[in-house]
Each structure stands twice: as C-alpha cells, then as structure tokens.
C-alpha cells in the first residue's frame, strides 16, 4: 500500500523527464519557410491550376510570354517573348521568343514550346481554359489559329478584334505559362500531353523549381540554376500546411517559420506591435458582395434592392471586424483595374432604407435568408449585416454551410441572398464585367452561368454594353465605357458590393523582399533575403 504513491510518483517523474528542453534553432539562412493553409492545391499543371496557393507557386516557378509591373499593371512587358506585333485588323499577334533562354531541365525555350503550351491548354480544356478559349479557340481549330512560323516566332490569331490589353492580360495568367514541351512529352500517356505527370511534377523555367508537393503537408521549391533572371538568394522555399492561424502565429513568434500567411483580423495589431515581426499587406482583386436572387419576388423590386444597399454598415465592418483585411469598395471593378470606379455612394442610412421599403410596399420589412459560408470572416460580416437589416424590419436568417454547400446552392439559384467573395481571373476589366454585368441567356439551362445568371438578373442591354467594351481598342475610351457601366450597375444591380480584400501576411523582421501583388500569381519571393 505504501508503495503506491511512490510508484505513481516514479511514473509521473519518468514521463516528465521525457520533456527535455529543446534547443531553439532559427530557420536556415538560405531557406524561406512559410506557413499557409495549402489544402486548396489540386494540381501543379499550368493548364489546370486555378487555386490561390498553386497560382502563387506557378508564378514563381513558371514564366509566361509576357508580364506586367505589379505596381502599375498598365506597364506590360515581354518575359519569354522578346516582342510582339499586332496585325492591322487587330486579330493576329506575332510573338518573337527571346534568344538564349532555357527551361530548368536545360532544354532551350523555343517558339515550339510556346505553341505547344497554348494549344495544350486549349485541348486539355481544364477549368481555366476559358481564359484562352473566349478568343474563339477550340480543340479543332487551335492548331490552325496558333501556328509556329519560325524557330523563334509564332502567330496567335483571335476571332475578333478584341482590345489588345485583354488578349495580352489573358496571356499573363497561369494558363498561359510556357511548359517544357520535350520534358512533358517524355511523360505523355494516351495522348494526354503529359497531363497525368505534370499534375504532380514540374516542367517550367521560373526562378524556382517545384521539387515536391505532398498534399496537405508541404511544398518544396528549389532555386533554378538555369533561370534567366537574377538568381534568387534563397536556395529553398518551403510551404508548410498549417491550417490554424493561431498555430501559425505561435510558430512565427518562436522563429520556427519566416512568414505566416493566414493572419486573422484580430491578431494584426498584436503582431505589428512585436518588434521581431512585421506585417505586410497588399490590395488584392477580390470583392466581397451580396447577391440578391431575382427569382425571389420581393428581392426583384428595384426599391428593395436599393434599400439593402443602404442597410450595410460598410465603414464599421471595415474598421472593426475586418480591420486591416478589407477596404470599402462599391463597384464591381477592383481598384487598380483599368476603369475602376472609385465612388462609394452607399453608407448605412436606415431612414432612407425605410422610405424605399415603404415605396416598395414593405414598410414593416420582410423575412429573407442568406446562405453564409461558415468561415470566421464571412460569418462575422453576415452577423453584422443581420443586425443592420433588422433596423429596417428585415428579418435576415443566416443559413450556415461549408464552402461546397453554399456554392452548390448558389449555382443552382436556390438561395435568397448569398454572401460571396469574387476574385478576378486576369488583370483586364472584362474578367469582372463578364460575370457581374453580362448574362447572355437567363434560362435555367444556359450554357454560361455568370454571377448575373446565378442571381437571375436578365440584362440584355447591359450585356451588349459589356460586349462593346471588349472590342474597344482605345484604352481611354474603353476605361470610360467601364466607368459608365459600373455607375449604372452600382445603382440598379442586385449586387450589394461592399469591400475589396487586402492580403495580409506577417513575417520575421529580417525577412525582406516578398512582393504582394494584385493577384496570387503576382506574389513573388524571388527577391527575398534574410
């Protein structure tokens, strides 16, 4: 009996002895270690990649024909292409490939690789393929439309005289990145252009090579010694999958990682106050908005739509629960885009909203539901909106669901209100006009289902305006067309556009040179030093 406490004590001491203090080591000087939720990666093939994390990887590991200055996106320059000429009819682009460039494999980059990559993306027809196929390419005609004319030259022929910036910006997106033809075709199986292999492997020419991707665990990139630009200082860049922001913060504070990529709004101030750390941010293109389904007869009344725009407390949300993560923005083109409208005409105004509701025949409000994705941020915004809607008697019921659920319902047009986030697919204004202000066919089995369709908003005239803007070659005139389009859209659309996203990351103070660009494939760690 008297042995018992001693035995238990010994067991406890033995188990505590296992916790020997651990020596703390900083991250290796030539390795950049980032913590990020990387579970969105489903492929590493430029013809398929469309997710945030994978886009960023490709932006650093592949190169496109052309690029733009992330600080002034109107400055477009050649990367793999040395120069390009546009024919008088505005439909044929002749690209000349820069001499002397190599892929990471050592294979030289030629016009054949460029033609192969673009045709490949069209023929594989994966999710991002529409960025190219919107110019009239199909699997059947692409061999004739994109054709090699010399060892270092090729022609790229589109079906209409589109605004040149639209065509060029689309080539800067990841789907236009150039793949090592020889290497990919060595791994071809059943005529798949190496797709099966490239999903998890690498055949590019960027500053870094992708050495390994273990899903939900890690991505490892290594410096590409054949890179044509200035050699990066980091020999290795590692992404660790750390899903929980609080865990990322602990790791960063301890110096076990260099950069934490998921920073919650409530921890920005604390992180910025720590002298070992620094917080960086950049305005991203994503827009937070409410979509009001026009199949709901109440939401289809113009005054009701207008009233709802006066019932969101934009400023308070941006200053409190989303502080540092968003700026108020009420037009469908994000700041930084050609023709972006900067007016924010709406603010919380309960009196005005009540007048509008009375005019609509609902002086005491009504009941309505909102499908709300169960992330912290979306839920918080949803709850705030619920409170301000109630001030005018609108009883808003939040229906929580995960991303897949809410999106499935939204795409089937079964929602009342959907609170969403939309990021542009490329740097041209058409990307958002195409979805917010175009709806060529409002029938249930329409071939294309943009956001305007999802909210059953039938707009033949606005669709025509958006289509005309695509064909305007003069940038100044084109910008004005988008400004007019947004001004009308802002007042009449069933979209309550609220905020533009700011991407925030926290880094160790010694880590310099990470560039936060407007889209995820512009985020660059090529110039990072430690």
């Amino acid at each position: 009996m008297k042995h018992l406490p001693r035995l238990v004590g010994a067991a406890l001491v033995a188990s505590l002895g296992l916790f020997a203090p651990v020596a703390r080591a900083a991250t290796p000087p030539d390795t950049l270690i980032q913590a990020w939720a990387i579970d969105d990666i489903i492929s590493l093939d430029p013809a398929e990649v469309f997710e945030f994390t994978a886009s960023e990887l490709l932006g650093n590991a592949y190169q496109g024909l052309i690029g733009y200055d992330v600080k002034d996106v109107s400055d477009i320059f050649g990367v793999i292409a040395e120069k390009w000429d546009i024919s008088a009819d505005g439909m044929t682009y002749t690209f000349t490939i820069r001499e002397g460039m190599k892929f990471a494999s050592g294979n030289p980059i030629t016009a054949s690789d460029a033609v192969f990559s673009l045709r490949r993306a069209v023929k594989l027809d994966k999710s991002p393929a529409f960025i190219l196929t919107q110019f009239g390419f199909t699997a059947d005609n692409v061999d004739a439309m994109i054709r090699q004319t010399g060892p270092m030259t090729f022609e790229y022929q589109v079906d209409k005289p589109y605004a040149p910036t639209l065509v060029l910006y689309c080539l800067t997106s990841t789907v236009g990145f150039i793949v090592d033809e020889k290497l990919a075709m060595e791994h071809e199986a059943n005529g798949d252009f190496g797709y099966d292999w490239l999903k998890t492997n690498y055949a590019g020419s960027g500053a870094f090579t992708i050495r390994e991707w273990r899903a939900n665990e890690v991505v490892v990139l290594e410096r590409n010694d054949n890179y044509s630009g200035p050699a990066p200082e980091m020999a290795r860049v590692i992404y660790r999958h750390i899903p929980e922001p609080a865990t990322q913060r602990l790791l960063l504070e301890q110096g076990d990682i260099d950069i934490a990529r998921n920073v919650s709004a409530d921890s920005i101030d604390a992180l910025a106050a720590n002298s070992d750390l620094a917080v960086d941010s950049g305005v991203k293109g994503s827009i937070y908005y409410l979509g009001l389904n026009q199949k709901n007869p109440i939401l289809a009344i113009p005054e009701v739509r207008q009233a709802m725009k006066y019932l969101v407390d934009y400023a308070t949300i941006a200053d409190t629960i989303m502080k540092g993560r968003v700026v108020v923005h009420e037009a469908f083109l994000p700041l930084g885009f050609l023709g972006a409208l900067e007016d924010n005409p709406f603010a919380l105004n309960v009196e005005k909203a009540k007048e509008l509701l009375t005019a609509a025949g609902y002086p005491n409000g009504f009941k309505v539901t909102m499908d709300t994705r169960n992330t912290d941020e979306i839920t918080a915004i949803g709850t705030a909106i619920q409170q301000t809607f109630a001030l005018a008697g609108i009883e808003l019921e939040l229906i929580p669901g995960d991303g897949g659920q809410t999106l499935t319902k939204y795409r089937a047009r079964n929602h009342d209100i959907y609170i969403g986030r939309w990021g542009p697919d490329y740097q041209d204004p058409h990307t958002n006009a195409d979805t917010f202000a175009r709806n060529p066919d409002n029938s249930d089995d329409a071939a294309s289902k943009p956001l305007a369709w999802r909210n059953a908003w039938d707009i033949p005239e606005m669709t025509a305006m958006a289509d005309a803007a695509v064909l305007e070659a003069d940038a100044g005139k084109r910008a004005q067309m988008y400004l007019d389009l947004q001004a009308e859209h802002q007042q009449t659309s069933p979209f309550v556009i609220m905020f533009q996203e700011i991407e925030v990351m926290a880094r160790r103070a010694n880590v310099q040179g990470f560039v936060v660009g407007p889209s995820f494939n512009d985020n660059s760690f090529k110039a990072v030093t430690k």
Partner: protein
C-alpha cells in the same frame, strides 16, 4: 484404433473451426458492406456538388459536364455503388479527386502519422491511466481519489482544440520544453529515409538519434494531449473495475491469509480487472487511430483525420470511403484482438 479415434476427433473439430471462421468472415464482410453503404449514401445526400471540388467555381459548363460524366455521376445511385464495390473487390480504392493520387497511396502516406501519434498517445494514457485508476480505487472517497477524478473530468470534458493551443502556448512558446507543430524540424526532414512512414521508428532504425530526439520533441505534446484524453477514460474505468474486484470475497480471503496489500492490489485484483480493461484500452486506441481532426489541425499533423475531413468537405467520396474502410478494418481488427486477449487472460472464456 487409437489413431482412427484421433482421425475422427479431428474430422469433427475441423468443420466446427471452419464454421467459426466462416461466421467471423461473414460478419466482417457484412460490417464492411454496411459501413460502405452508409458512408456512400451520406456522401450522396450531402448537398455538395462533387464536380465543384474538381473543376472549381469558374469552369465553363462544357468542362463541368465532362467531369460530371467522368466521375460517373450521371449513372443511378445503385449503379454507382455497384461499380464502386466491384472496384473494391478487385483491390482498387480509386483515385482521389483532390490529391490526384491513388487512395491507397494517400492513406499509406497519412496513416503512419496517425498511427505513430495514437500509439504514443495510448501508451501514455495506459501507463498513467491504469495506476491512477488503481490509486483512486484504493483511496476511494479520499483526497487522492477526488484529485484523480477531477483530473480525469477535465481531460474528458475540456475541448481538445483549446487544450491543444494552451499546451502549445505553455510548453512550446513559453517554457520551450517541446518543439512546435509539425512532425519534425525542416532541417531533419530529409536526414531520414522514410521506410515505414513512422518517423520515430525510421530514425531509430537508421541510428539517426538527433532526428529521433527532434521527432520525439514534436510528437510528445500532441501525444500527451491524446494520452490525457484516453487517460481520463481509462483511469475512470480502471477505478470502477478495481472497486468491484476489491469488494470480492477472494480479496478478503487474501487479506486474512496475510498476503501483502500491494500484492493483493497489483497481482490479484488488477489481474482480474485487466480482462475488461483490455477492451477499454483497445477501444480507446481505435478511437485515437481514427485520427483526431482537431488535434491534427492545431498541431499541423498530416494524419488521417485531417485527410478525411478535407475529403469530406470537398465531397471527395473515393477518399472518404477508402478512409472509412481503413478505420473499419482497425475497429474490426482491434475487436478481434481484444477477443483473443480475453481468452488468454481469462481461463473461463477459454474453457467455454
């Protein structure tokens, strides 16, 4: 004559044994079938479009339609299930939509991480839980008993997510006793060749003791947490089993005979309590092997729990069904094992 009798005896025994095996196999097969059917149906009634997980929100309608057919979603539900069953029987668990790898490969990658964590966890839980339970039983109603019960109650009821973050803050960030989230430091990551996927085992086998120490300092905190969680259950059950045993007449007899008290507790009573305890420990172990989603999330542990949750959220049904099969196999396996241990530990069961 004797040999003939023996032959006959064996002939009589064989069908009985074969019958028993057939019965076990049939119940296992039925269990798996039911498990698959239920999981499959749950996956199909969840209002999530599995095509979206593959093509994303932006794909054109033609891409969407093609993938819809590629995934076999155009066929009736029973046909989809039948096709799946046929594949399973031929040993093919299919390919994950998300990781684009065969499910078998994915599970072989994530399961060792969970196995390692759960094993260290259950060792801690058992080694500490049983003595604590015994102690509580012996000191029933006294201060020690109350302390053990309160400790157990906290372990059982505190949210593991919160407990995990708190433990990280204290033992990793403040005291620096253990390493942070993840399985091993980056600098050691490539110093061991992964053979079994069990880092501690691989490092020890390859004599990489620095890497072993590092991996150990990573695993000890999440494992202790899981250990604490199972400790709470094991100590409570041990306590009640021991109380029942200590009230038995053979204990009084032993005391009258003058057997040392520690011998009565640790040899006589515990040995008898051990029989039902085996099931308790086996079930706790099985619970840990399912993968603890929250622990794995907080500690960035790339295990089965995270894999399954992510797959379920994206309607990656091949992966979910594959993972369910593995978990089912674990439960069935551990159940059979504890039945077997029962017969070894309890002569009465053997005789029956």
């Amino acid at each position: 004559m004797a040999s003939i009798a023996n032959e006959e005896g064996r002939r009589g025994a064989l069908p009985a044994l074969a019958w028993k095996i057939v019965k076990i196999l049939a119940s296992v097969a039925l269990t798996f079938l039911g498990l698959l059917l239920v999981t499959f149906m749950i996956g199909r009634v969840v209002p999530v479009d599995p095509v979206l997980a593959v093509v994303g929100d932006r794909a054109s309608q033609s891409v969407y339609n093609r993938v819809f057919i590629e995934l076999g979603l155009d066929k009736p539900l029973y046909e989809q299930f039948w096709i799946y069953l046929q594949k399973i029987l031929s040993g093919d668990l299919g390919v994950s939509f998300l990781t684009k790898k065969p499910i078998i490969e994915d599970i072989a990658r994530v399961f060792p991480a969970t196995l390692e964590l759960a094993t260290v966890g259950i060792l801690i839980g058992t080694i500490l839980g049983i003595p604590l339970g015994v102690l509580a039983a012996v000191r029933q109603g006294r201060f020690t008993d109350q302390v053990v019960r309160v400790v157990g109650l906290i372990g059982y009821s505190a949210p593991i997510f919160w407990l995990g973050l708190l433990a990280l803050l204290v033992f990793y960030a403040r005291l620096h006793w253990v390493a942070g989230p993840g399985r091993i430091d980056i600098s050691y990551e490539y110093s061991i060749t992964s053979r079994t996927g069990l880092m501690l085992w691989d490092a020890a086998m390859q004599g990489q003791w620095d890497a072993f120490r590092n991996a150990f300092s990573h695993i000890i905190l999440p494992a202790s947490l899981l250990g604490y969680y199972s400790l709470a259950y094991i100590s409570r059950m041990t306590r009640s089993f021991m109380l029942a045993e200590l009230a038995q007449e053979y204990v009084i007899t032993a005391r009258v005979k003058g057997v040392a008290e520690w011998r009565i507790i640790w040899v006589h009573a515990l040995r008898n309590a051990a029989v039902p305890l085996v099931t308790v420990v086996a079930l706790s172990y099985a619970g840990l092997l399912e993968g603890s989603v929250l622990t794995e999330t907080v500690f960035a542990w790339p295990g089965l729990g995270q894999y399954l949750t992510n797959s379920l959220q994206n309607s990656d049904m091949n992966a979910v069904l594959g993972g369910t099969l593995v978990i089912g196999a674990i439960f069935v396996g551990l159940n059979l094992l504890s039945d077997l241990l029962y017969t070894l530990l309890d002569p009465r069961v053997r005789r029956r």
